[in-house]
């Protein structure tokens, strides 16, 4: 262990990511958060666990990222009533997860925003779905949600959602505006809350991975992969190199599919039907290849516990290389057209800007952070197989506006295409599935961490097993938790009609956030 760790002794967390964990009392926990923050650390996730049945109490976990390492810091909430020290003054990104902790587990911290976050009316304020003794939930009446009011002459509110104008996920946006200028945007989420974490706790891994791959449909590979990594670490699977290569191939193909779709939608929102049509066709062909080679247009169920579901033969690998060459040529042509299109660039440039400073303050991650010049990428920050064997390009843009996110998506398509070629060239022979772990040899870990750099950013899955075989707690963290507040900042001081463009340039998850 490195001496530069400023806090208590840390134990290695099972899993391919460089992660360490420690349990401490509340004051030390808050102190450790502050120490890491002052040394450039960031909050990657915040969640809780009911471990009362094995005497550990109600636990609060912070996952910090610092200096190429992940630190899983745990504290037990003080009982009666359960509470823990607030850290949202240290990490603003903690504010909404803290509210979710109150909703789901009844663990409070003071002082913090007293409004519920994920809970609307599906269960009452005195019931906590993630507690072991939760009975099922009494549905209450719809109560109005107090949005933060903005005062001043001529200020009014525009309420949008939960049903939006287009074919997208449900959420509510409250704009405070003067004329067309946005003074403040506040979002309210939780409409897509499906109780997925509660269910995951009861499912055997073979079934759990199917559910994990159906929580955020555009990121099914990233979610299933992160879940598989955590379960495999817990049970001691050794993943064969070929399966690792194919997993990365699936993840990079998912990245390209989403970038193609969003670039088309951005053209459409800016009124360039040509671009929407062209990207729509490119994405469609890409998805048809998924169906042909992996049996599902969005690659659901292609990752299994211990490996991957299907192999690629030599002809498929050659076909994929040809497809990549064709795709890149088409994308280059469209990139030239879009970058030369004055009308389109006029809409994109200086619209929806987030600064690097804002990204750092709010612990922004993924593609949105990289478009503002902040390199946040699980594949680079926390090197793990198979990316350690591949030639990584790390495209960055610095402007942080819609144009930068568009430019970065183009660059990431090319970077992912390069990675795919590299994966295909280096794909080792061998089995697709890890041998069944020898349970007599492996001392079963109590905690494990998996993570994948999905197209939006880092997706984490943590699994905790307390007392015995069946019972475990699964937490899934979507990068949108950190990036929704960034989107709100990006919309501030902009124009209402620019919001669809800004929103689409981020394209954050609702279901992945609401779980």
């Amino acid at each position: 262990m490195d001496d530069s760790f400023p806090s208590p002794p840390l134990a290695r967390v099972d899993g391919p990511l460089p992660a360490w964990m420690a349990t401490m009392d509340g004051d030390s926990w808050r102190h450790a958060c502050a120490q890491y923050q002052s040394r450039g650390g960031r909050l990657a996730a915040l969640w809780g666990t009911d471990a009362r049945d094995c005497g550990a109490g109600l636990l609060v976990h912070a996952l910090l990222a610092w200096n190429g390492r992940l630190l899983w810091l745990t504290t037990a909430a003080h009982p009666m009533p359960p509470h823990y020290p607030d850290i949202s003054d240290i990490f603003p990104a903690a504010a909404r997860p803290e509210r979710a902790l109150t909703d789901l587990l009844g663990i409070d911290c003071r002082p913090h925003d007293p409004r519920p976050w994920l809970r609307h009316n599906a269960w009452s304020a005195h019931e906590f779905p993630l507690r072991a003794d939760f009975a099922g939930g009494t549905q209450g009446a719809d109560t109005p949600y107090p949005f933060t009011p903005v005062g001043g002459e001529g200020v009014h509110e525009i309420a949008v959602g939960p049903i939006h104008a287009g074919t997208i996920e449900p959420g509510h946006f409250r704009f405070s505006v003067v004329g067309d200028e946005v003074l403040r945007l506040e979002s309210r989420l939780g409409y897509a809350h499906k109780g997925a974490e509660k269910r995951l706790a009861d499912l055997a891994p073979a079934e759990g991975i199917r559910l994990a791959g159906r929580i955020c449909g555009d990121s099914t590979v990233a979610y299933a992969l992160a879940y598989a990594m955590a379960i495999e670490a817990l049970d001691g699977h050794a993943i064969p190199a070929r399966a690792q290569g194919l997993r990365a191939l699936l993840l990079e193909r998912e990245r390209i599919a989403n970038h193609l779709g969003d670039l088309g939608a951005l053209c459409g929102d800016a009124g360039l039907a040509f671009g929407q049509a062209q990207f729509g066709l490119l994405k469609e062909r890409w998805l048809q290849t998924h169906h042909q080679m992996f049996g599902h247009r969005y690659l659901m169920d292609s990752i299994t516990i211990g490996g991957v579901a299907s192999d690629l033969g030599t002809p498929e690998c050659r076909q994929m290389e040809t497809e990549l060459a064709g795709l890149e040529e088409e994308v280059h042509t469209l990139e030239d057209i879009i970058s030369e299109h004055a009308g389109l660039q006029e809409r994109f440039l200086d619209t929806g800007t987030v600064s690097a400073e804002q990204v750092l303050t709010h612990n922004g991650v993924g593609m949105a952070a990289r478009a503002a010049g902040v390199l946040r990428d699980l594949r680079v920050e926390f090197p793990h197989a198979p990316y350690t064997r591949l030639n990584m390009e790390n495209p960055l843009r610095t402007q942080g506006d819609v144009a930068a996110r568009v430019a970065l998506r183009f660059a990431e398509i090319h970077a992912a295409a390069g990675l795919l070629r590299d994966i295909l060239a280096k794909l080792p022979q061998g089995p697709l599935q890890a041998p069944a772990p020898d349970k007599t040899q492996h001392t079963r870990a109590a905690r494990a961490l998996g993570g994948a750099e999905g197209w939006r950013g880092e997706v984490f899955v943590t699994v905790e097993r307390y007392g015995g075989d069946g019972l475990h707690r699964v937490h899934i963290h979507d990068p949108s938790w950190q990036n929704w507040p960034l989107l709100e900042l990006a919309a501030t001081d902009g124009l209402v009609p620019d919001f669809p463009l800004i929103n689409k340039s981020f394209n954050l998850a609702y279901s992945g956030h609401d779980l």
Partner: protein
């Protein structure tokens, strides 16, 4: 601009046409009153009632130039007041029940409800629990169920073709 025009002129047709793919087996029975009322142009309002977003991706894909749902006279509208068909996805989270009912009530008659995907049909991986109702039919009357996780764009195109009474 010259490149854009050149690109438009040289964009070919998709190599495979839809007829090359076998149609799905879903039966849809649009009443004659509905068919005559919509006059061959169907306005669709989509509502995501807690889906994972994969169904939304396939609905959007049905509108791309390959499947070209618009060619059947199907268009997506922003308000349920302009809609003939309510296209609902997801296991209906409890937090979306009010919105789904409001959207349905706001539609003029005759109207049809299409439950899109296994979750909306009640046979998906997201079952009813403390946060979800479990299927669209438990909230509003459902006329047509399209299964799949997610159903492919072709399933939607075929359902709409039958609704519109087009060959």
């Amino acid at each position: 601009m010259r490149r854009l025009i050149k690109r438009i002129l040289t964009t070919g047709l998709p190599a495979a046409r839809l007829s090359a793919i076998s149609p799905p087996q879903e039966e849809t029975g649009a009443p004659a009153t509905f068919r005559s009322a919509v006059g061959g142009a169907i306005a669709v309002r989509h509502v995501d009632a807690g889906s994972c977003n994969a169904c939304e991706l396939e609905i959007l894909a049905a509108d791309n130039i390959y499947y070209n749902l618009a060619r059947l006279g199907v268009h997506f509208v922003a308000s349920p007041r302009h809609a003939d068909v309510l296209l609902v996805t997801g296991p209906v989270s409890r937090h979306m029940v009010t919105a789904v009912r409001d959207a349905y009530d706001a539609m003029p008659a005759p109207k049809l409800v299409l439950a899109f995907g296994d979750c909306a049909a009640g046979c998906g991986i997201h079952v009813s629990n403390y946060a979800t109702v479990g299927r669209v039919a438990d909230v509003i009357p459902v006329d047509i169920v399209l299964s799949g996780c997610p159903p492919t764009p072709l399933v939607l195109v075929e359902a709409m073709r039958r609704l519109a009474g087009k060959k």
